[in-house]
């Protein structure tokens, strides 16, 4: 057998990716961002208008920690929605299982944190596997409805307070007496911030590893054409169950960290509204992209908190009532932005960069040949 030495196909110049000034640095950008975020608490910088106090004040750090948690949650939800194409409306259930599981095991059963955390994450993962096994027998919109209904059961269980475990409408404050001293108190908020950062890093790492693996390619195939995967001899059900279970486990781990940061559980985290906002985060950021969901989650939570302050600020109060009242509702602003996003930039925030680069290239004067 002779090997014919064919000339390599010529790639037209305009099709090869442009090597910008920063292409060597790009792979390290996430690492740089991680380092910057990790040393951020040492900065006493004050950003008026962005945060209320200096960056290392406990209030700001707590807000940042919550943003990071939701960045991680959105990245985990994207494993379902953006990467596998499953529209689940019940993701809040697994997050709430993490929050309430940890809270109940620590406050009511008096377990130490590491045992409670491990038990909760295991329990949340098993719960996701069991419910996913039932829900995944349906597809498409029916799957969305079933997950919504399961999550609703969780919300009812928490609100009705069966057995006096969850504290009902009032929620359940976390009993901090048994926790490690480094995680308790306002001065130690910085440790919780690092914990949240570690959680985000873990989720991003897991999601990227999974989506880069052969399993991840099957998941992407399921999103694009499920029948084709079936024809190739792979069982779609199993792969979807793996993704569902993994996303559920990651969400319950997020719940464990969240309950430490907030210092208790309240029933609003079980509502379907939380799942809807996860969906909004992912779509705003860019579903199925590497950093989009994280950005979307962080930005959404930040806006949700800051718009409340913005809504009561003088600038808004001085507007006529027709404008100022809706603007004082963060959800109104976010919902409107979301609808506009679905119409005008369907790829989310991450799709803006390539679009803008087209624009700048078009505006830049062309060199004459």
């Amino acid at each position: 057998m002779t090997v014919i030495d064919a000339p390599r196909a010529q790639v037209p110049d305009e099709l090869s990716p442009q090597r910008g000034r920063w292409h060597r640095v790009r792979p390290f950008l996430p690492l740089v961002a991680l380092v910057v975020l990790a040393i951020l608490p040492y900065s006493t910088m004050s950003l008026p208008g962005v945060f209320e106090g200096p960056v290392n004040s406990p209030g700001t750090l707590q807000l940042l920690a919550i943003c990071l948690i939701f960045g991680g949650l959105a990245a985990g939800y994207d494993l379902l929605f953006g990467r596998t194409g499953m529209l689940s409306f019940g993701h809040a259930l697994y997050f709430a299982a993490g929050v309430y599981g940890t809270d109940i095991l620590i406050t009511r059963a008096g377990l130490p944190l590491w045992q409670a955390g491990l038990l909760t994450i295991t329990g949340g993962t098993i719960l996701a596997a069991l419910l996913g096994a039932v829900a995944l027998r349906t597809v498409g919109i029916a799957f969305a409805m079933v997950t919504l209904a399961f999550a609703q059961v969780g919300a009812i269980l928490v609100a009705r307070d069966f057995g006096g475990l969850t504290g009902g409408e009032e929620g359940l404050p976390l009993d901090v007496s048994g926790l490690p001293a480094g995680l308790v108190g306002v001065t130690n908020t910085v440790n919780l911030y690092w914990l949240a950062l570690a959680y985000l890093t873990l989720v991003v790492f897991v999601v990227h590893r999974v989506s880069g693996s052969p399993t991840g390619r099957v998941l992407a195939g399921l999103r694009d054409d499920e029948r084709r995967i079936g024809v190739l001899g792979l069982d779609p059900y199993r792969y979807k169950l793996v993704a569902f279970t993994l996303a559920g486990g990651l969400a319950s781990a997020g719940g464990v960290v969240y309950v430490l940061i907030v210092g208790g559980a309240s029933p609003h985290i079980t509502s379907s509204e939380l799942t809807l906002s996860l969906l909004v985060m992912v779509v705003l950021g860019g579903p199925g992209t590497r950093w989009g969901p994280v950005l979307g989650g962080v930005l959404y939570m930040y806006l949700d908190h800051r718009l409340t302050a913005f809504g009561t600020s003088d600038a808004v109060d001085n507007l006529p009532a027709v404008l100022s009242r809706p603007l004082s509702q963060p959800l109104f602003v976010l919902g409107t932005v979301f609808i506009l996003a679905v119409y005008f930039f369907p790829g989310g925030l991450t799709s803006l960069a390539p679009r803008l680069s087209h624009l700048t290239r078009a505006l830049r004067p062309r060199p004459r040949r």
């Binding site: 529209l87 039932v134 027998r137 349906t138 919109i141 029916a142 969305a144 409805m145 079933v146 919504l148 209904a149 399961f150 609703q152 059961v153 009812i156 269980l157 609100a159 009705r160 069966f162 379907s272 509204e273 809807l276 906002s277 969906l279 909004v280 779509v283 009242r325 809706p326 004082s328 509702q329 963060p330 959800l331 109104f332 976010l334 919902g335 409107t336 979301f338 609808i339 679905v342 119409y343 369907p346």
Partner: protein, 296 residues
């Protein structure tokens, strides 16, 4: 015996509320494949429209004929919002199911927030005629009149929708469209007009549910639509997408199960039973009781 009849009739009242919300959802989903999360918004608009009209609209009031005008205003407002939503937001996105769901999700978040911004987050007392606060004795049970009003309204709406689907030309187009939309389009009929029509019907039914639900509960609050919507979704799935009759059966089953189990078991257990019922139906008969057929 009296307790059983009371529970059955209040359960049917609840079922009537579910049916009014679910019938529109089911038709919209069956015909246009739109899972409409904004349906709770139509309900909220109907409730607040009625509430506003009873206080501010000349001729309307909380009692007698004025109340009828107030409810009519609320229903008209809900219908108008539904038509606008279809024309402005949903129409550009047909055949892109996920985007449609996303838009209605955004709309439900923004719309409820807008209601909250305008009239506050707290529940407002709903203006209702005095006779709806009283009870009627039926076979030894004292049944609240508000529930009976809901049942009568739901039966009338069911009859009207069925008659419309059965005996009018547009009803024929809708039934055919639910079964096979491509074929209807191929015959040269503009299905999109029918889409607007089912949105209007669904919006009107949901707004009526909002107004009468306000009478039934005695208060109106921005979040009311959302909690009803989840059970309406369950009713739609159990009944079979696109079937009005299926929705009616499913609503009755769900309402009765919820009421009886909540009374004889622990409070809240009924809601969980309903979800269990949904899981069982989906596993045994994924297309629902009636499947995807708009039967008249």
């Amino acid at each position: 015996m009296g307790t059983v009849i009371l529970l059955a009739l209040t359960g049917l009242g609840l079922a009537a509320l579910y049916f009014l919300v679910a019938s529109g959802l089911s038709l919209v989903f069956g015909l246009a494949d739109v899972l409409n999360f904004a349906h709770g918004l139509f309900l909220g608009v109907g409730a607040y429209g009625t509430w506003w009209a009873a206080g501010n609209l000349p001729g309307a009031g909380p009692d007698g004929f004025g109340f009828v005008i107030a409810v009519a205003f609320g229903v008209a407002a809900g219908t108008l919002v539904a038509i606008l939503v279809e024309l402005v937001l949903i129409r550009p996105l047909y055949s892109r199911t996920i985007e449609q769901v996303l838009v209605t999700v955004g709309l439900s978040l923004a719309g409820v927030a807008l209601l909250q911004a305008t009239w506050g987050a707290d529940a407002r007392p709903f203006p209702r005629p005095d006779w709806t606060r009283q009870v009627t004795g039926i076979l030894g049970a004292q049944v609240p009149n508000g529930g009976l009003l809901l049942i009568i309204a739901a039966v009338l709406v069911l009859g009207a929708i069925l008659a419309f689907l059965r005996w009018t030309r547009y009803g024929l187009v809708i039934r055919a469209g639910v079964e096979n939309r491509e074929m209807v389009t191929a015959l040269g009929i503009d299905v999109r007009k029918a889409f607007t029509l089912v949105f209007a019907i669904g919006g009107a039914a949901a707004a009526l549910a909002g107004a009468l639900g306000g009478v039934y509960f005695g208060t109106v609050s921005p979040g009311q639509g959302g909690s009803l919507l989840i059970f309406a979704f369950i009713v739609v799935v159990i009944g079979g997408m696109g079937s009005v009759v299926g929705s009616a059966y499913a609503a009755v089953v769900v309402g009765l199960v919820q009421q009886f189990v909540n009374y004889y078991g622990t409070s809240g257990l009924g809601d969980i039973c309903v979800v269990g019922l949904l899981a069982v139906v989906l596993l045994l008969r994924p297309q629902g009781i009636a499947g995807k057929v708009a039967t008249a």
